[in-house]
């Protein structure tokens, strides 16, 4: 069928399909510099129309480019060749809003800021805040894994994503990924979808976390005479253990543009300003301000603290509209999005300036300095002869410089169309093959936004295909040569081992210290990290990242990091015998400190791994933000050794803050009431955990019989912790309860003992499961669902219940199991228990993904479907 008849067939099925040239014309662009005509435009009015329309388009076999508000900066929503643009602008329903559980399920066209505005009355907001948040859609944010100024402290879109419903192009079926509780069983497909730039599957709905708005916020403007001084201040601020809510740099050229339109109050004679925001508990905020002032001493010429909400809003308006304001200085701009380790910032600025000089193009800088996420904005006039080519060359030179400095080429805007020629800067030929195979597992006919992220195989790579269409014609940039990855001798040995196993059809099992007692096929040979992968490989405290060999014993880490007053929370959980690789493979959920510290999913930034196909890949780099290509580290996280062997992992570390805890023991009723009351408080949480009577008796034998316990953990600056703790202790509900404070090493030990409980009780209770449910359900489940005699704990702020039960028990039936809660096997891991309730569609997808990484099924099956007897 030719395009014309495909469109007319489609038109018969979708009456509202737009095909007039005037209608199509408005869908040729997004906020980037690329342009291409769509074949048709479809604007569904509701979910039913949306889903059935998508199915029709897939049936006809036309490509689909989904589009939210078209604010993307990399051409992600610029139509692929012959694509039908599916616009979600009218899909703005908020389906569910569970404020006590801090989550919302929304249609993809819901506007980012609208969700925050709607939930503000409950003290909640949707934390990721791209500069375009007034108009950009949550669906678009998920597709691009968008960031924003406040992602420094709160994390990017992916960190706030709980679930999504997609339509699988492969079979046109709806598929729910995740849901309301965290850490669903199976592969983390949600992380793969997030940032996939619409190339895997269309989003039907999205479930996101809502975050408590902090009690206090302070916004400062620090003024600098030199850009390098501003960069130095950034490093010093983070070095003092302050993670500001936002840390933004704006350079002289940008200031001049902003002041022309907005008059945000940025001094026009400054070389750079830093917009710094801190938030949190009152006492903490004051101390953070003091630390920042200290850090800027001798570097900044002045620091101004916004005195009221209006001044604060104005300072932010200047930042958020800065890029648009640059439109005052030139008719067009080309915005780059490279990321580099923060400590390299001072080196890179002169490089960018010299690139600008070389090409005769002014380059403005306005960016997320705290993340090291640059936004050099190249100003130009597309109507000038040859200008566009020059701009792309200059942009590519900047990308190269970022990669050479150990960074990446996109932190939040995506590869889209505009950076695909630079794919080779970061990826190898093998990576490309892997990406294509992953895409095919979802979308074998390549209907979803084809031609984005990576160069089109066999076409663009040779520079033959006219891929970029500008209003002013210009040559498409030829793709840069692919990176090559050289395996070390040890890695070559591992590859050899795989090759032998593949040849013999012999099963393998990946093991570290066997802490998790994983099952392999009978007689499976053990594959493990060689000796040289045991121990830290690279640690730069200034950049808050550490690279570890996956064979590193977890217990070795604490002391190394403590030397620099830093920590990598989460690693100490469940026995100190385990290895980093084991922890990554099993992804035990983050422990009881997850409310304060987050989970491994939020800390892992890069992974080097060996697949069952014998290929070594390096995915991600030593920076916090990176949306180049598919998110493989997170897909492999928790894949239980069924896809690949982890070799080397890079994590974001955090400054170590003092903490204190309070144990409250008493009658069940008081504990329950207190827990619910405290959960709504805006204090610097580390964790809030309930222990049932059995767990209380085990950990605190001194407690009265039948007493339950509540552990309140706080972590922040010392004064803030003390003040917050005091405010907790003043609760009238505490009367009649037994209180015990823990500080210093006792505080650490208390939380370690909570996390270590399953390991410590291994002899008495050999099998542990985790129940994941929503926050408000957690405590009720703990009370109702756990049989007497079994110690169990529940994390209120995260909505997990850790509980013990014998495998033969009826626990599985006692808990309500739905998309809102799931049971996961903690250890020993038995796939049959964990994956029993996965739908056929999930199983199919997981099998296809497994075949991508491990085509010969050398490794065990996640679903317990062993090929080898």
């Amino acid at each position: 069928m030719d395009l014309k008849s495909q469109i007319s067939t489609l038109k018969a099925k979708i009456p509202g399909l737009l095909t007039e040239r005037a209608d199509l014309f408005a869908y040729r662009y997004d906020a980037s510099i690329d342009r291409a005509w769509p074949a048709a435009v479809f604007l569904p009015k509701n979910q039913e129309e949306y889903v059935s329309g998508l199915r029709h388009i897939f049936e006809v076999g036309l490509p689909v480019t989904c589009r939210g508000a078209g604010t993307g900066l990399s051409g992600g929503s610029v139509p692929s060749d012959n694509a039908v643009v599916v616009g979600t602008a009218l899909l703005r329903t908020i389906f569910e809003e569970e404020l006590p559980n801090r989550l919302a399920r929304v249609a993809p066209g819901v506007i980012n800021l609208a969700l925050s505005e709607r939930t503000a009355h409950a003290g909640l907001h949707y934390a990721p805040d791209p500069s375009s948040q007034k108009t950009c859609t949550i669906g678009g944010n998920v597709a691009e894994n968008s960031g924003g100024p406040h992602c420094l402290k709160y994390g990017v879109t992916g960190h706030h994503l709980l679930g999504a419903t997609i339509v699988l192009p492969k079979n046109k079926e709806r598929l729910s990924l995740g849901g309301k509780a965290m850490d669903p069983p199976g592969y983390d497909v949600l992380s793969l979808i997030c940032g996939s730039e619409g190339t895997l599957a269309p989003l039907i709905d999205v479930t996101v976390k809502l975050t408590a708005i902090q009690a206090e916020t302070r916004t400062m403007l620090a003024v600098f005479n030199e850009v390098t001084a501003a960069c130095e201040a950034v490093t010093r601020i983070l070095g003092l253990g302050v993670i500001p809510a936002a840390l933004e740099m704006i350079d002289r050229l940008t200031i001049s543009a902003v002041e022309r339109v907005i008059q945000a109050g940025y001094p026009s004679d400054a070389e750079a300003v830093l917009l710094i925001e801190v938030d949190g508990f009152q006492e903490s905020v004051d101390e953070q301000v003091a630390s920042i002032e200290e850090a800027c001493q001798g570097l900044a010429t002045s620091i101004r603290l916004a005195q009221d909400g209006d001044e604060r809003a104005l300072l932010w308006r200047g930042r958020k509209q800065a890029v648009g304001a640059l439109g005052q200085l030139a008719p067009n701009y080309y915005i780059q999005d490279g990321v580099l380790p923060r400590s390299k910032l001072p080196e890179l600025f002169p490089t960018i300036a010299s690139i600008g000089d070389k090409y005769g193009l002014p380059i403005a800088n306005v960016f997320h300095a705290g993340d090291g996420n640059l936004h050099p904005v190249i100003l130009f006039d597309r109507k000038k002869e040859g200008e566009v080519e020059k701009v792309i060359e200059a942009g590519t030179a900047i990308l190269k410089a970022c990669v050479e400095a150990g960074g990446t080429i996109t932190g939040e805007h995506g590869m889209g169309l505009e950076k695909r020629h630079a794919f080779g800067l970061l990826f190898t030929k093998e990576d490309l093959t892997l990406f294509e195979a992953i895409k095919a597992a979802f979308d074998p006919d390549s209907l979803m936004n084809p031609g984005k992220i990576a160069p089109i195989p066999g076409a663009c790579l040779e520079g033959g295909r006219k891929a970029r269409v500008f209003d002013v014609r210009h040559e498409a940039p030829s793709p840069l040569p692919m990176k090559r990855l050289l395996p070390s001798p040890e890695e070559k040995d591992l590859q050899e081992q795989i090759a032998v196993a593949r040849g013999a059809g012999a099963p393998l099992v990946i093991k570290g210290h066997d802490t998790w007692q994983c099952l392999g096929a009978k007689g499976a040979q053990v594959l493990r990290c060689p000796e040289s992968f045991c121990g830290p490989r690279d640690y730069s405290p200034k950049d808050l990242v550490i690279t570890l060999g996956c064979g590193t014993p977890v217990r070795e880490l604490g002391p190394i990091l403590a030397e620099h007053s830093q920590q990598l929370p989460l690693l100490q959980a469940y026995g100190d015998q385990g290895t980093v690789g084991g922890l990554l493979g099993m992804r035990p959920g983050g422990g009881h400190r997850r409310p304060g510290h987050g989970s491994l999913r939020e800390r892992l930034v890069a992974l080097r791994f060996l697949t069952g196909a014998g290929q070594i890949h390096q995915s991600g780099t030593r920076v916090a933000k990176n949306v180049a290509g598919y998110d493989l580290p997170r897909l492999l996280l928790g894949s239980r050794g069924t896809l690949a062997l982890g070799l080397e992992a890079t994590f974001q570390v955090a400054p170590k803050l003092p903490g204190e805890s309070l144990r409250i023991s008493g009658e069940l009723e008081s504990i329950e009431a207190l827990c619910e009351e405290l959960a709504t408080r805006r204090i610097p949480w580390l964790g809030l955990t309930v222990l049932n009577a059995e767990a209380t008796a085990l950990l605190f034998p001194e407690c009265a019989e039948d007493h339950w316990s509540l552990i309140v953990g706080l972590e922040d600056r010392e004064r803030a912790v003390k003040a917050a703790l005091k405010s907790v202790e003043e609760k009238p509900l505490l009367r009649g309860c037994e209180l015990q404070r823990y500080s210093g090493p006792d505080h650490e030990a208390l939380w370690d003992s909570l996390d270590g409980m399953p390991g410590a009780l291994k002899d008495r209770f050999p099998t542990w499961q985790r129940l994941h449910t929503t926050g408000t359900e957690a405590i009720a489940t703990l009370i109702r669902g756990v049989p007497r005699g079994t110690p169990a704990t529940a994390r209120r702020l995260c909505g997990f219940v850790d509980l013990y039960f014998p495998v033969s028990s009826d626990m599985d039936r006692r808990v309500s199991y739905s998309e809102e809660s799931w049971l996961r096997q903690l250890y020993p891991w038995r796939p049959s228990l964990e994956c029993a309730r996965l739908s056929r569609a999930h199983r199919d997808l997981f099998r296809s993904l497994k075949a991508v990484f491990d085509p010969d099924s050398l490794f065990p099956s996640l679903l317990g479907e062993e090929k080898h007897g």
């Binding site: 737009l18 007039e20 040239r21 408005a26 616009g87 648009g324 304001a325 640059l326």
Partner: protein, 430 residues
Amino acid sequence: MADSCPDSLELLEAAVESCVGCGFCLEACPTYLENGHEADSPRGRIALVDGLMNDLLEVTPEAVRHLDLCLGCRACEAACPSGVPYGSILERGRDWLRRRPGRRKSGRDRILEFALTFILPKPGVLKLLAFLLKLSHFIGLFSLAARLPLPAKLKELLPLTPTVDGPAYIPRDRSPQGSPTGQSALFLGCVQQQLFPQVHESTAALLQASGKAVLHPKGQGCCGALHLHNGYLDQAKALARKNIDAFMNFLIDHPEGLIVVNAAGCGSTLKEYGHLFEGEPEEKVAKRVAGAVRDWSEVVTSAGFPGSASKTVRVAYQDACHLAHAQGIEKEPRALLEAHPGIDLVPLNDGALCCGSAGIYNIMEPEMAKRLQEKKIQAIEKVAVDYVASSNPGCLLQIRAGLKDDEARSAPEAIHPTTLLTQLGLKDNS
């Protein structure tokens, strides 16, 4: 007509070029919010104008349709970080489209041209219309018409027919009350003078109470807003020249004098006379006149308000687009309403979103206008007020037509803020 067309085209191109396509304007646009269609958004319309001008797109009814559907509310300008002069793009773009050789006039164009040429600039015709309106309301013609088997489209327009709100306004000069603060010239306009004489009466009273002398320069007339917005630049300029002459005379006599306007659409047009004549000989005088133009709320003070009130009324303030977006005046009228002891000002959800009136848009594009009107009425009904105050005659008519009594309470009254303030009583006449 002696119009420098190439200059206008250059200005249009430069304005189009100033859009970087960031899309920050989308959520401010009432028609985009309704249709979800990029081509019905400010960024989309600018792209269309760009495409049409650069021959990337043929001029088709479909393309022009997206431009026609623009309300010209300019909410996008307030949201724009690049300072794109959207209003000017729309006006000059429509003008350029209209002048293209070989254009065929549609029925819509013909009706529009008739109104712009033979009604608005002619005080005599307007006077006659006002008389006919009064007569028709008196003999119940409109309620009769509502029962006649007329086409549904025509019937939908019936509620929009205005009533004349009081006795004719006599433009005699008035002296200030209390300590004098300067001279003001009241801009009389076209429709406002004939159909809403009460608004002029109240504005004059408020100006007097604020210590202003109120003058009425001769020779002034229609500001040309509707001509401008619909792309009839020559006619708008002709009308503007008349007003510039009339008010220059006033400014020569009173260099510190202010030209006070009480209709938002006229105010924004007068304030932008300088841009209208950009690059032309009249630019300098046009700028001088424009610089003296003020909305009533920028001049009136609370000096004349009583110290206390016997009763309070609940009032919602609806931003007139050409006041809030085109002139950036949002705080002043609210502050004045709040300062009056008899007023309890309640916030209106999405108060800055267009009500669908937009000059004569509600007649030219009744379907979209009705959708926006319904949205606005829903927001008003939610707040349960006695009055909806708005500073533009069109908005008042549009809101009035949509409001209906329900079982619990009678519909709020749509009223000009000046009328409301004087009705509630000023110091001297309370």
